[in-house]
């Protein structure tokens, strides 16, 4: 019962995020909404797994957490560099010593 309440709370939060993603106004708001939506979906999947007694499907939640990270970086490069091929430098103006 508690898990169901948790699921409901997450669903409402997801709807609010969709609203922010549609409204914008800046592109960064949209990325933020998409990224945060991803985190909420990870939680939703985990909770659903327990709600239906199928915790072994946490794999899907795990893979989301991963993908979310990669897509966020891709989006950031999209804005900052307008290219997916640029490397991200380690520090301002110079390369890190270990590179």
């Amino acid at each position: 019962m508690l898990l169901a309440a948790g699921t409901a709370g997450l669903l409402v939060a997801m709807v609010l995020m969709i609203a922010r993603a549609v409204m914008g106004p800046s592109q960064y708001d949209r990325i933020l909404a998409a990224n945060s939506f991803g985190t909420k979906t990870v939680l939703l999947l985990a909770v659903i797994g327990y709600l239906f007694g199928r915790p072994h499907f946490l794999d899907v939640a795990l893979v989301y957490a991963l993908i979310n990270f990669v897509v966020t970086i891709a989006l950031m490069k999209f804005f900052r560099y307008r290219s997916l091929a640029q490397p991200l430098t380690a520090s301002a103006g110079e390369r890190a010593p270990h590179d």
Binding site: M1, L2, L3, A5, G6, T7, A8, G9, L10, V12, A13, M14, L16, M17, A19, R20, G24, P25, S26, Q27, Y28, D29, I31, L32, A33, N35, S36, T39, K40, V42, L43, A46, V47, Y50, P55, H56, L58, D59, A61, L62, A65, L66, N68, F69, T72, I73, M76, F79, R80
Partner: protein, 124 residues
Amino acid sequence: MTEALHWIGGGLVVIGSLLTLFGAVGVLRFPDVYTRIHAASLTDTGGATLALLGLGLISGLTPETLKLAFIWAFVMLTTPAAANALANAAYGSGHKPRIGAFQIIPSDAPRETDPEDADRSSSQ
């Protein structure tokens, strides 16, 4: 004992989900990108920690707990890194904060938009 753990775990899940929900309200209501990033990243990590901890209490010591720990680690790695990158990118592209010690914008000032966003969405 397990019964009690289930209730405590469920309670944590509910609190975590509520925290996420409050964060989402913040993202919807706050005035500029930086405050929204703040709201989202803080509540996402906090909410995820609470909810995953709750689920861990429910499942006890099983392989699933390990997966939950991994998910938690990923979220803790992803969300702050993403928030950092996002704020970095927004600041780098000339977004000015609307709230903060550095500058106070009167409420009747024209709304700030991303210059790039403006040319993209001007046709809308």
